[in-house]
Amino acid sequence: MKLLLFGMLAEDIGKQEIVLETFRDVNSLRKYLLEHYPILRNKQFMIAVNKQKADKNITLSENDEIALIPPFAGG
């Protein structure tokens, strides 16, 4: 599955996109990311699935568009 990165998170990880194995749900994806990208551990971010904020631990599938989104700074 494809993971899009934005703002400071893209800068910290050094990529705007990462291809990952498919995770079963948002919690397992989050756990993997924190293990493999320790720089995320002290960062505030939210996960969006198909351009919607994932508040709950929703189930993921191969073709979902996942994004790691840092704090907003519009305006």
Partner: protein, 151 residues
């Protein structure tokens, strides 16, 4: 960016600063909507904040554009409905905007003044809180920090 594009309701982003000419052009287009009795306009300007002794010279904006478009369209529709607006326009910069330049425009119009004051405030607050737009505050020496909106 052409003015026609601004007429398209879902065109929320513009490359670089929002010029005073563009703003006056948008306002002028409302003269034919004679049911309108009040406009309120909010213009966000890039401020030369001093952070750890360094002066900000510009903000470089980026966005999760597709999600931001959806969120902006939703906010706009909801606020038009809530306040019974005649129309509403949102324009936000992408890319580099220097200090002193305009990076956000919210223009709301209605029959009477109360609705536009309330709608404009709510629109700006919600844009800051709910839309995935990111900003890098760039200093004179080329270094930067990431901006984060606070309440």
């Amino acid at each position: 960016m052409s003015e026609e594009k601004i007429e398209t309701k879902k065109q929320f982003f513009i490359d670089g600063a929002i010029s005073p000419t563009l703003i006056s052009g948008m306002l002028a287009k409302h003269s034919k909507k004679t049911g309108i009795g009040a406009h309120d306009i909010f213009l966000g300007q890039v401020r030369a904040d001093i952070i750890n002794g360094h002066a900000v010279k510009a903000i470089e904006y980026s966005a999760y554009t597709e999600m931001a478009d959806n969120e902006l369209a939703r906010i706009r529709e909801e606020i038009i409905g809530t306040f019974n607006l005649t129309c509403a326009h949102i324009l936000h910069s992408i890319g580099m905007v220097n200090t002193g330049e305009i990076c956000l425009l919210v223009l709301v119009s209605s029959v009477h003044r109360k609705a536009v004051f309330d709608a404009c405030l709510e629109m700006v607050e919600r844009i800051k809180k709910e839309v995935p737009i990111f900003g890098k505050e760039v200093f004179e020496d080329g270094t930067h920090v990431w901006k984060e909106n606070v309440d």
